[in-house]
């Protein structure tokens, strides 16, 4: 499983968007991604991307 830390924020936002829409196969991330707005997702992605693994 890929680590999320230090990943490109834009990639995280796209992944979350695809989890939300159901385009990306998932077991639980689809259900969790739907709990976050686009703005919240971008804030989370920016924060994750800024962390060093």
């Amino acid at each position: 499983m890929p680590r999320v830390l230090g990943q490109d924020p834009a990639g995280i936002v796209i992944a979350m968007r695809e989890f939300r829409s159901g385009q990306r196969p998932a077991t639980v991330m689809d259900r969790i991604a739907k709990g976050f707005t686009e703005d919240e997702t971008q804030a989370i992605a920016a924060w994750l991307g800024a962390q060093k693994d």
Binding site: L5, T27, R31, I32, W47
Partner: protein, 426 residues
């Protein structure tokens, strides 16, 4: 900052999504003065809260009060009961917690003075605090089920606090002859781990099917609905036909008394004689919550959904199974998520800041068989003083998923446990 990195890395691994919003107001923390926080209870909630506080503000003096040097985790303990896992795999120490700068105090808390802001310990010690975080878990209501007392748990184990009881139930199942009846008594809501009794029934059914196929398991239930119900029931019909019987409240499932000498459990309609009886008793917040004055007449602790502060006493926060957390279940994952949000709020409050509204996540895996996992997930936010589900998010595994998805979820369950325990204790 190098010293912070390992902990921070573990913290981020799963926490980030839930806690990121709460962690944003960093400038306030930069001006932090020191404060004193005492955390009571070294489980998923308390341990996470203590470590998170120290990471957010290393100048805080954080003391974790816990009676036992070793923690035994409840999630996955149903696997221990049926021999799929060793109890040692459930046990964790506090070495890494101490290395983070948290002062570990191995003692029982025996009293709390909310006005004087101090905690009394069984060893005669006394700890003063600016903020107290209570994460004491549950106690059983020994007055809640006639016939079931502390003296009878050797005959009819609860195995609802992992440890010796888990091994006892395992030994009883192993010693049972083929054709025996296993009876589980499941309590009314709320209680620790809502899907737990049904995962347990499933894994016991798996054990019976493979080793004692003439046996049967009955769940006598004090409620009419339960977590992941259709997923469980579909799986029982597919994997264990005729082996698992669930008796709901309205079908007379509520156990009204037990006789450990006779090994019987009695409902309004019938008396069941068990070869192995697992009684999961009614529960409440642990007693220290009563002594602190933070539990209400339900036996549980109301909280503010942003800060987890008690509305009943000043400067005391309550986390995990003891708290009334609205739509959030009493689970290890929920406890861990609440702890991060609470720690962020407490760190902010100690410097006079205004805590941000948290958005919390829960995910619970249950194994119906070793290669068959199902989940329930939720995202929660404060609305009108309550933690409620974010609409449109969360829910359970699909009812029509193929075996490959069930197997994938069973495998992810291991990752879930490893991540959660590594983040809390590792």
């Amino acid at each position: 900052m190098t010293a912070l990195r390992p902990g921070r890395r573990a913290f981020l691994k799963t926490a980030a999504v839930g806690a990121a919003a709460a962690l944003l107001p960093r400038p306030a923390l930069a001006q932090a003065t020191s404060g004193r926080v005492v955390v009571i209870g070294g489980g998923f909630a308390g341990t996470t809260a203590a470590r998170t506080l120290k990471r957010l503000d290393p100048r805080l003096a954080v003391t974790l009060v816990e009676a036992n040097a070793q923690f035994t985790a409840c999630p996955f303990s149903n696997e221990v009961i049926v021999g799929l896992r060793d109890l040692g795999d459930q046990q964790f120490g506090y070495d890494k917690v101490a290395r983070d700068g948290v002062e570990l105090r191995l003692a029982s808390a025996t009293g709390i003075d909310p006005q004087g802001r101090s905690v009394t310990l069984a060893d005669g010690g006394r700890l003063s605090y600016d903020r107290l975080i209570l994460a004491p878990g549950v106690d059983f209501r020994w007055d809640g089920l006639p016939g079931y007392t502390e003296a009878t748990i050797e005959r009819m184990p609860h195995a609802w606090k992992a440890g010796e009881q888990t091994l006892l139930l395992r030994r009883q199942l192993a010693a049972m002859s083929d054709g025996g009846l296993v009876v589980i008594s499941a309590p009314a809501n709320p209680y620790r781990c809502p899907p737990g009794p049904y995962e347990r029934a499933s894994l016991i059914a798996h054990y019976l099917k493979t080793t004692k196929p003439k046996s049967k398991i009955i769940i006598l239930d004090a409620k009419d609905a339960f977590s992941k119900q259709r997923l469980f029931q579909n799986a029982w019909a597919a994997l264990y036909p005729g082996l698992v019987e669930w008796v709901s409240l309205s079908s007379g499932g509520k156990v009204t008394s037990v006789d450990p000498g006779m090994m019987t459990l009695t409902t309004d309609f019938a008396t069941h004689k068990a070869a192995v009886a697992n009684v999961i008793p009614p529960q409440k917040a642990a007693r220290i919550a009563d002594l602190a004055g933070v539990s209400d007449r339900t036996g549980w602790c109301p909280i503010d959904p942003v800060t987890f502060a008690s509305p009943l006493q000043p400067n005391i926060h309550v986390l995990g199974d003891a708290a009334i957390a609205g739509a959030m279940p009493k689970s290890a994952f929920a406890a861990n998520a609440q702890a991060k949000a609470c720690a962020a709020a407490v760190a902010t409050l100690l410097v006079g800041g205004r805590p941000a509204e948290p958005r919390l996540i829960n995910t619970c895996y249950s194994l119906v068989a070793p290669d068959y996992g199902i989940t329930i997930a939720g995202v929660y936010h404060p609305v009108n003083g309550q933690l409620v589900d974010v609409e449109g998010a969360g829910g359970v595994s699909p009812l029509d998923a193929p075996a490959s998805i069930r197997a994938q979820e069973a495998s992810f369950a291991n990752g879930w446990f490893n991540t959660l325990t590594a983040e809390t204790f590792g």
